[in-house]
Symmetry: C2
Subunit: 228 residues, 2 copies
Amino acid sequence: MAKDISTQELRPYHHGDLHRAIVEAALDVLSESQSTEFSLRELARRAGVSHNAPYKHFADKRELLAAVSAVGFELLAKRMAEATSELDSPRQRLAAMARAYVCGGVGNPALYRLMFGGFLGGQDESRPVIERTAAHAMKALIVSAISDGALGRRIADTEPTTRTIDGAILVFWSQMHGLTLLLVDRLVGPGDKMEELTENVLQAMLEGLVNSIPKVPEGVWVGPPLAG
Amino acid sequence: MAKDISTQELRPYHHGDLHRAIVEAALDVLSESQSTEFSLRELARRAGVSHNAPYKHFADKRELLAAVSAVGFELLAKRMAEATSELDSPRQRLAAMARAYVCGGVGNPALYRLMFGGFLGGQDESRPVIERTAAHAMKALIVSAISDGALGRRIADTEPTTRTIDGAILVFWSQMHGLTLLLVDRLVGPGDKMEELTENVLQAMLEGLVNSIPKVPEGVWVGPPLAG
DNA sequence: GCCCTATGTTGACAGCGACCACTTAAGGTG
DNA sequence: CACCTTAAGTGGTCGCTGTCAACATAGGGC
């Protein structure tokens, strides 16, 4: 049973799991305010600790945001996995993934932007391993649906054809990524037509991919970089 | 002749065009730091005025960022227009637009994210008219290329088929938008293969669109909202 | 039982956005 | 020309922030 702070009982000197508490507070504030410009001090207040306690768990604000972003990737990967778990047809699995991806982004734009928006030093290896791991898990889901035949035929995932799959993933991912962000930014809308739009765009995209998968030039990667 | 601040000559009490100076300083800092987290005070310092002078031209930081974003849209629209001005083939014009769009984003990610990233109150009519105007100009370019036959046949831009064009624009725009952001965030790379990737993805996308343009459900808009 | 270390606290600092009252100069009006 | 209105710039201040440093606490291994 968790300690009940609201009663007379005094909070113990040590919180117990402040790391998690801070990240969850950040997720709450992020969802409520739809902005990453909250303060570490506010998170500390919400967790009922001093303004400096978070610094025992996060070197700075950037590191906290990175942790939040990692949770976002885990949530997204989990949603996509759940949405596809009971579907047999690769085509349906891909569609379910697309829906989960777009809905996830539209459902919490600020989190989605944090994950993909490059606030985190943006470029290099500063992003935590867990983030890249979740992103790779996500990519693996797409790979399996495509190689299993989402384009209407099986595509072997052996080395010579990997670039074919990368080409298909590139199209699929950038299409859904762009659609999500246009919806999030209300440059396309309204949001409640999201699922229908996703389905229709996906349909057109797949019909295109069946006939023509773009060439991915030598040296190009699709997905988060494997090594720092 | 501009006043030479660097010599002994004293700067006049009134700057002359502080509005422009501040916006340009912001563009400089944004390009250098690739972050919107610069301070108004630093811009004031760069412009050689007191920390509060900018507030005579911008109500708050958000308004300054909106002005910067508007300049970004103007630059992007101009680039796209220039890239297409001397091309006859609609297909080539669309490809040139795609290149200009992606290169523009990759060339200055922070500006691109500012424009599309919803920092600006994100949702509603808070974004200045000039921003939406530039965005509409951009859309008009795409419309013309598509209706002129970029998909291999002319498509009349008359009312009954407008939704066809919207469907095509939706695919084109979200595909390029997503590709740009994946490149910017280095989830696809390297950046110097950008143009080749753009061309190949566009090629596949167009072949798909020729056969199948997604349906845009009733009530959906594609492009910035017309009325506040 | 003792100390070590992870965790949490208090205090301090500079920098920030935003507001205020005050000053400057430029332009229109008589 | 003098006058006055007003846009534009200045300096001061407030509360808040991120971050650092010094100190307090407690829980676990020897």
